[in-house]
């Protein structure tokens, strides 16, 4: 299904999609307010962008430095060329521990690799421990937003779900009550798990440590109670120096949810005595994206989700409409690199208004890359439905006479054409759009009357 088809599905529930739109805009607004409290905000964005540019330009060296230091600290480092290898490595570690149940905190990379279904097929129970992720896991859904995984759901739906899965009172929709029920359920899982999986927000080449940020504390609950910690990290998550974290931690939560910082920012450098830390460095298409000049800078992304919250298309079409692990504007420039055919409609899921670029904490030129991907898609896939009307328009604009005649024809036609023709399925511009009233005269006619 293409993005417009999926979006149409989401828009069927008008009340819910309106709530979705307004709620994400509220988060965007919080980001604006908190960022304005930092006089050096724009300088921080510039710095973050510069640091990430430097990382991408020297990635091989930084990865080796990171590996060297991590090993010195007693961390086991693995490398995975693709998602299959990543999943296999995780499974091998679990098998070594005779582990059949694992707790996992939020990791978009493991979503990208489809780790959960892979492990479940091997008979391993995977419990996502972020509340929003646990909710969508109960529903067999992927997250619809990278920071707010269950933003597409209303509390009545969650109440019903928890009644079924956690035996909460029927009809009790109180978020405090529901969160408490999840707390009891998840703490039982934490105290029972031998292995915990987390993602990685930042890996520091200089020290070999890595940082994981959460508000719920679920990553730490899992990791510190388990014997073995597996951290899954995309190779682009490197920062050169420890002090670079100051820049990124100042930007991340403010951009994501409008908070000054996430409540837990854990720096893992070496395992507790008697325990193990494994880190898996994953490529899965990242070196291919690095090779694409025009799209390289998309790898600077720190997964804050600000571009989603601000995007007029994302807010009105929902995360699932993208059918891509990372949805929204940034997903629409990352995913075509992984599978251009599957994701060919995503670069068009944008008004190119540039709001995503304006809020991006690492200054990725997202809307320009969306435009560039459109060129790639058209080169590869040829005409879209809009192609025919564009060709027609091209002919009309080339000839002054054709332009003049067609203008007057259209003004009359818009008045007299039946709706069935304007809102015909072949005219996709008519879909969900109302035509403006046609002016009585052309600009030329108006000018001759009034100014000549």
């Amino acid at each position: 299904m293409t993005h417009p088809e999926n979006a149409a599905e989401f828009l069927k529930d008008a009340q819910k999609s309106k709530w979705h739109d307004e709620t994400l805009w509220f988060v965007r607004d919080k980001r604006d307010k908190v960022s304005k409290g930092i006089p050096e905000w724009e300088q921080l964005r510039e710095l973050a962008s510069g640091i990430k540019d430097n990382v991408l330009a020297n990635l091989a060296n930084y990865l080796e430095e990171f590996e060297r230091n991590a090993k010195k600290n007693g961390i086991t480092v693995h490398w995975a060329a693709d998602s299959e290898e990543h999943n296999r490595l995780v499974l091998e570690i679990l098998k070594k521990q005779n582990c059949t149940a694992v707790v996992k905190s939020k990791s978009i990379l493991t979503e990208e690799c489809h780790l959960n279904p892979y492990l479940e097929k091997q008979g391993i129970e995977v419990v996502d421990t972020d509340l929003g992720e646990r909710i969508v896991q109960f529903l067999n859904q992927p997250p619809s937003h990278i920071v707010l995984p269950a933003i597409h759901l209303k509390k009545s739906e969650i109440s019903e779900l928890f009644h079924e899965k956690l035996h909460t009172e029927k009809g009790n929709e109180d978020p405090v009550y529901l969160t408490q029920a999840a707390r009891v359920h998840l703490r039982e899982k934490f105290f029972g798990a031998k292995v915990a999986i987390t993602g990685v927000n930042f890996g520091i080449a200089e020290t070999g440590e890595f940082v994981v940020c959460t508000n719920e504390g679920n990553a730490d609950m899992g990791v510190h109670l388990a014997d073995v910690h597996i951290a899954c990290m995309g190779i682009e998550k490197i920062l050169p120096r420890r002090k670079d974290l100051a820049v990124f931690l100042r930007l991340l939560a403010r951009s994501a949810t409008g908070q000054p910082i996430t409540n837990y920012n854990s720096h893992f450098r070496s395992p507790s005595p008697g325990k193990e830390i494994h880190i898996i460095l994953v490529d899965n298409g990242r070196t291919a994206q690095l090779a694409r000049n025009k799209f390289r800078s998309s790898l600077k992304c720190i997964r804050c989700g600000a571009c989603m919250n601000t995007c007029p298309i994302y807010r009105r079409s929902g995360g699932f409409s993208y059918n891509s692990t990372v949805p929204g504007p940034i997903g629409s420039i990352l995913s075509p690199g992984l599978d251009l055919k599957k994701h060919s409609s995503l670069p068009f899921a944008s008004t190119l208004c540039g709001s995503c670029t304006d809020v991006c904490p690492v200054k990725i030129n997202i809307h320009e890359q969306l435009y560039e991907w459109r060129q790639e898609v058209t080169k590869t896939h040829g005409d879209f439905a809009k192609g025919l009307s564009m060709k027609l328009a091209n002919g009309i604009f080339k000839s002054p006479l054709a332009y003049k005649i067609s203008g007057s024809l259209m003004r009359n036609a818009l008045k007299s054409l039946p709706n069935s023709l304007i809102y015909h399925p072949l005219n996709i511009w008519g879909k969900n759009r109302n035509l403006p009233d046609a002016p009585k005269e052309s600009f030329q006619q108006w000018y001759q009357k009034n100014r000549s």
Binding site: T23, E40, Q43, G50, N54, L56, A57, N58, L59, A60, L63, N73, W79, A80, A81, L131, G132, L148, P149, A150, L153, P175, T179, A182, R183, L186, N215, E216, G217, N218, D220, M221, V223, H224, L225, R241, K243, D244, A246, L249, R250, T257, Q259, P260, I261, T262, N263, Y264, N265, S266, H267, R269, S270, P271, S272, L281, D283, T287, L290, A291
Partner: protein, 186 residues
């Protein structure tokens, strides 16, 4: 070729433009650090208390399972630090000493030495951190300067209690970790 070599050589085969690593200026945010820090903790849904306010709260609550790693409140402990973090399951209060706090966001730095067990500040129901009011920094830049090359197996910037807004964006305090954070400024 194994995956490590494959990835590294794929990167090295590219001709990438040189990009210099920028220097980070020492951004500051001067002002009343205690006031700023207190506001930040309160924004993060924690609470800053004086010593006497804390003692009043603590004695009124009548907790029976308390671990204290703070020399200032050693006498409040009812339990020793266990060896196995699984024994923390029903812990009511943990009292720890923070190294320093950051005024701009309320983040408090803790390392293995202060934590005893890494699970302690997460698994406990209520968390109390004792902090010297002279140990406040303006921004994260000064914070990382202070940590500099210090080496701890685990380090944590903790800024508030466990919280979530995953159900319809309603903020709920006490998700999976500690249900409250009290910072005692001494």
């Amino acid at each position: 070729m194994n995956s490590r070599e494959k990835i590294l050589s794929a990167i090295r085969s590219l001709t990438l433009e040189v990009k210099t690593l920028p220097d980070i200026p020492n951004f500051s945010s001067p002002g009343n650090l205690v006031e700023h820090f207190t506001q930040s903790i309160s924004d993060n849904k924690g609470e800053v208390l004086t010593k006497s306010e804390f003692v009043a709260w603590f004695s009124a609550a009548g907790f029976s399972k308390v671990i204290s790693l703070s020399s200032q409140f050693a006498e409040l402990a009812t339990l020793p630090l266990p060896e196995d973090p699984h024994d923390l399951e029903s812990l009511e209060v943990a009292i720890l000493e923070g190294q320093f706090g950051v005024a701009e966001n309320g983040a408090i730095w803790l390392e293995d030495t202060q934590l005893g067990l890494r699970a302690l500040p997460f698994a406990t129901e209520h968390l109390v951190i004792v902090l010297d009011r002279k140990m406040l920094e303006e921004t994260m830049h000064q914070g990382y300067e202070k940590i500099a090359a210090a080496h701890s197996g685990f380090g944590l910037f903790l800024a508030g209690p466990s919280k979530t807004a995953d159900i319809e964006q309603s903020l709920v305090i006490g998700a999976q970790g500690a249900k409250s954070l009290r910072v005692v400024l001494v």
